[in-house]
Symmetry: C2
Subunit: 317 residues, 2 copies
């Protein structure tokens, strides 16, 4: 387990390592949204990724980075969402046991997906303390390897491959890439991918106003919690980690806030115009571009659509 910030070689190795197990999701475009923004937008549709989200990249890289000895007692994590599925999927792939702690109020569809991969699910009350305590207990009893959802360099290196592909596949130099920020695994990976594979490309983040920890941390130069948490983008509620924050601070140009209304409008464009099922968190980067048109006017912009795991019975339209 490399305890250094992933360098170019580590990200290249991660990309080769995960390639047989994840989709190279390609790039999609929309003439309508190009006209609307007066920019050239290149979307990375990670909603079409295995398990429906980019998290497959980090999960697969983390688990394939473990030795057989480390794998023999299984892997463990806590997550109500896409990271849970990613770890369950990756563990099944290498026939390792996966212990997943999920809040008891997790969406049924996500619990079923995790169980579908053969993982063992433990339910807990949905507070950070309860989650961590439950995982701690499992690790103590089983000796399983803990894989953090974002504050882990193996995970960060995996997430970096999404922006790496965007840079490689769009066929021209991007002026900027924008990704949403929650715990910062994807955003820090995006910043590293830009640094190594397209150093003139600026990296931006979109963040919900109702979970505005990253923008505060970015401005104050230390990890802050959000002043309040209330947003439809349920994948972005976490604050930054000790490993993701320094990479973000160094490599990200700015963090742009969006409201839930902005997010729903961006989702609507992605669904209606691009025919893509995208979860609210997955529409945050486009929402930020739509809200900051002057910043991206005339530019070539890569936009990461992060996931599409949404409950069809509870749509905001």
């Amino acid at each position: 387990m490399p305890e250094i910030v992933p360098d170019k070689e580590i990200i290249n190795a991660a990309h080769l390592r995960i390639a047989p197990y994840v989709h190279r999701t390609g790039i999609v475009t929309s003439a309508f949204l190009n006209t609307l923004t007066n920019a050239e937008l290149f979307f990375k549709p990670e909603n079409l990724q295995k398990i429906g989200a980019f998290k497959a990249r980090g999960g697969v890289n983390a688990i394939l980075s473990l030795t057989e000895g480390q794998l023999k007692n299984g892997v463990a994590t806590h997550s109500s969402g896409n990271h849970a599925q990613a770890i369950a999927y990756a563990a099944a792939m290498v026939r390792a046991k996966a212990y997943i702690v999920m809040p008891e109020n997790s969406p049924k569809v996500k619990i079923e997906a995790v169980l579908g991969y053969g993982a063992e699910v433990t339910f807990c009350i949905n507070t950070p303390e309860e989650r961590e305590q439950a995982v701690g207990k499992i690790i103590e009893q089983t000796g399983a390897e803990f894989i953090h959802p974002f504050n882990d360099y193996r995970v960060i290196a995996g997430q970096a491959t999404a922006a790496k592909e965007l840079i490689e596949d769009c066929g021209m130099k991007l002026d900027s890439i924008i990704a949403p920020v929650g715990g910062g695994g994807l955003l820090s990976g995006t910043a590293l991918a830009a640094r190594y594979f397209s150093p003139d490309t600026k990296v931006y983040a979109g963040e919900p106003e109702g979970a505005a920890d990253a923008v505060l941390s970015f401005r104050s130069d230390k990890i802050e919690k959000a002043p309040f948490v209330k947003t439809i983008a349920d994948g972005l509620l976490t604050h930054l980690g000790s490993k993701t924050f320094p990479i973000i601070k160094k490599g990200v140009e700015d963090i742009l806030l969006v409201t839930d209304e902005d997010i729903i409008q961006a989702m609507r464009y992605l669904w209606e115009r691009m025919k893509l099922v995208v979860e609210p968190s997955g529409a945050v980067a486009l929402a930020a571009v739509l809200k900051n048109r002057a910043l991206f006017d005339g530019k070539k912009v890569g936009i990461v659509i992060t996931g599409g795991n949404v409950d069809l019975g509870r749509l905001p339209f």
Copy 2:
């Protein structure tokens, strides 16, 4: 305007002609649906096509097949749906005037899309007679070229390119290809593409029980109307035409009926598992595969997802 059934050369020419103006939509797969069906499914996501449906192929080919003389008075058609958008899109591309007759109860979003391409829309009462009369009057007044939604060899040759790409891009020989059938433009094109580019591949169709004209026509060997019309698949209400029927009769293995319940279940899989926004008509082919598992068991099956133009305010979930 070729008045012969499109041959291999005509379809190749159509493909080259439309290539700069439509997307090569690629192929998508789903491990979940492969396991569920015990088959290897290759989806052609024409919901990601220009104007959100395969109809762009036929519309663009028809319009690019016209001479400047034919184009100078514009083009005309009647359609409440995707063909209207296809003709409006293609006409705008060559700066020709498009006259579109639409039923007055057409979905607002489709009317707006057609207007958005700069077409002139005439509203009429939604009966076949009223539609044809309205188009006839426009053609008399303007001298515009009429482009039928499916009973036109230029349109059929354009639609054939979807299955041609599926055959070329899936990287192995398909045992069968299945497409939905309404008027039969796509299905006859699919049959021709299989005949010329993969002659051992069997072609099937899916059809809603609530618009079961094609299966009746197929069995009785003459064009029949549906005994009743009531289905969620609003893109498949028309009966076969004099040009599409003989090609279908010769080249299609069987036509498989599905209920609205089957269609909604298939839609749900496409949305939830594949993250694709697909309209009810677009899910009919998958519904037919799910309903006839023995027929496709262990087979390599190409499935055409025809379109994604759906009103988010009126979803069946």
